[in-house]
Amino acid sequence: METVVKIENLVKRYDELVALDHLNLNIASGEIFGLLGPNGSGKTTAISCMLSLLEFNKGKIEIFGKEMTPTAYDIKRQIGVVFQNVAVFDELTVYENIDYFCGLYVYDKKERKKLVDEAIDFVGLGDFIKFRPKKLSGGLLRRLNIACGIAHKPKLIIFDEPTVAVDPQSRNNILEGIKRLNSEGATIIYTSHYMEEVEQICSRIAILDKGRVIAQGTKEELKDMISKGEKISVQVYGISEEQLAKMLKIPGVAGADFADGTISISMNGKSGGIAQIIEFLNENNIGYGRIASELPTLNDVFLELTGKTFRD
């Protein structure tokens, strides 16, 4: 598949702090590429370098096969960015804001009007086109922010934490929108520190920590990288030491602990061991209550790769 963004050995230092440490990324056309990392891991810095807003110390950035520079206007024309902070003019109405920013890309008035109308439809702000940003609620403001970034129909759209401090309903709305843009042919780069979101929409994910990519792949590939598998917990009325030891012999079971009336069983590798566990409980006449199964999350991936949890 065609490579849209290619970053090689990108290094960015702020005095003592190394924000990006030999970062390498390849993003292919048609992907929703997730850039996941805790706060301060270098996501926004990476984006800013990609956009040629920031100077960097070392490395190479190519977009659509050409080197990205501040004056690479033919590349810039293909990119749309939705910034983390709402970046609109307070004095202009919803319509005028979108029109203004779209006007920086599309100089033909007729064509622009069509694009602006489409963008307004896309984010569902049709009822608010005469409103000033100050009158919009937080969620609507985010939608306006998105409309300003995508009105010119870019081939590559970068979303930099678009859902921070957004209510759940608007968040879903945004995520749905991203999927729709992708299905219409745009390549998406999506940065977030919400793992659930990234898992939900991204086709490929890079996990960033301290300016480096510590893992990259589809979410399944990422989860395969770690030893940990499904975790099953069973509420029981009682279980003996022998029975617990016996449990470990069930194929796929990596460990079993009993505490506070609950057995916690960790499975190896792929999921699918729950049937054997239930069978074992029935065979041994162990009365059980609620059974819960928990799949490994990207947090577990992060924990195992870095030794710390994501939200530290």
Binding site: S52, V81, E96, K109, G149
Partner: protein, 371 residues
């Protein structure tokens, strides 16, 4: 594209209400107040005949009486001493003269102001003349008649030259307009902040677009300039046509001066916006306070401040843009030649070009060390 951005920015400026207050409403209100308060100020020093009383004038003689009359300085009531005292204590006269002898008087007043001083000087010079006459006649008694004749002859010894009838309160209005011009620096500063990606997110959006940054900037700064220019013209027109403050003759020169002032102001603000890396509020605050201080130095709060600076620290007047605009108006109003006016306009233009050049070199940079 240029025109679209220009239109958009112009619309934004029109909608920013708080900016309107300081650049438009406030100067209009202040100029109205100046107008109401200063309308009589110029009469403060106007000469009017001084009301005095003379007691026992017969003791001084006809010569004194004639001199009093011919001097053209006084409105004399001839009274007795008691009456004179009463008039003075009631404030009806500025002073009374008690005549004791042909050349011996005593003056009674309540204050040491100019009116009282003029009465005293009249008496002093009467006594001096009397004494001179005595001495000259003593040296040559035959000349007595000539001496007395030439003494009573009203003859001027100094040629009064025509000099301009200027009203110094106009300086308040001129420096007010000048302040409006230079306050446009706040707009220049905001426009730069809106184009520098390390200063605002809207600017980042502009920086990543395929439009040339300096072209976008030229469009938005032109919008700010035209906007401010119109605001300045509204204020000037109000002062000239509604308050009827004298601006001298030529409308074209007034327009040119306003344009030069706004240009210097906008580019000053743009330079500060580009060079100083501080929050917007801080930069605007600094610009406003510096402008107000400059306005103070050019006479906004006290008109003579302009002269004091010009006389004691002329260099300061030449680097103060507010003072340059104010002085430009003053030159148009009061001088017969245009040299000084063109000097002011040229310095303003040069300042504007210098500030713009600095701004250009900072803005040319397209990548930032940090955002």
């Amino acid at each position: 594209m240029f025109f679209d951005i220009f239109k958009c920015r112009f619309k934004s400026l029109l909608r920013e209400k708080s900016g309107f207050f300081w650049t438009l409403a406030f100067p209009l209100i202040l100029s109205t107040l100046f107008f109401l308060a200063f309308s009589n100020l110029n009469k403060i020093d106007e000469f009017e005949k001084i009301k005095i009383a003379v007691a026992d004038v017969q003791k001084a003689g006809d010569g004194f009486n004639a001199a009093l009359r011919n001097s053209g300085l006084f409105e004399v009531s001839q009274t007795d001493l008691e009456q004179a005292k009463k008039l003075l204590s009631e404030g009806n006269i500025k002073g009374y003269i008690e005549c004791k002898d042909a050349n011996d008087f005593e003056l009674f007043v309540q204050k040491s102001d100019f009116e009282e001083s003029i009465i005293k000087m009249f008496l002093d010079s009467y006594r001096s003349s009397y004494s001179s006459a005595e001495k000259i006649i003593a040296s040559n008694p035959a000349s007595a008649k000539d001496v007395i004749n030439s003494l009573s002859e009203e003859k001027t010894y100094i040629n009064e030259m025509p000099s301009g009838n200027g009203n110094s309160t106009v300086i308040y209005f001129y420096s007010l307009i000048a302040m409006v011009c230079i306050l446009s620096s706040t707009y220049g500063c905001s426009e730069v902040i809106k184009i520098q990606a390390d200063q605002s997110t809207c600017a980042a959006r502009i920086n990543i677009s395929p439009s040339h940054k300096l072209k976008v900037f030229m469009a938005s700064i032109s919008a700010a300039f035209i906007f401010e220019f119109f605001v300045t013209l509204i204020v000037t027109a109000y002062i000239k046509f509604v308050l009827r403050i004298d601006f001298g003759t030529s409308m074209g020169f007034i327009l040119l001066l306003c344009a030069a002032g706004c240009f210097a102001g906008i580019s000053l603000g743009a330079m500060i916006g580009a060079v100083v890396k501080k929050p917007e509020q801080f930069k605007i605050g600094v610009l406003v306070s510096v402008t107000i201080f400059f306005s103070f130095l050019s006479g906004l709060m006290y008109e003579n401040m302009k002269y004091i600076i010009q006389k004691n620290a002329p260099a300061l007047a030449f680097i103060n843009p507010v003072s340059l605009v104010c002085d430009g108006f003053y030159s148009l109003y009061y001088y017969d030649t245009f040299d000084r006016y063109f000097l002011n306009v040229s310095i303003l233009a040069a300042m504007g070009i210098l500030f713009s050049a600095v701004t250009y070199f900072v803005l040319r940079r397209q990548k930032y060390a940090s955002i």
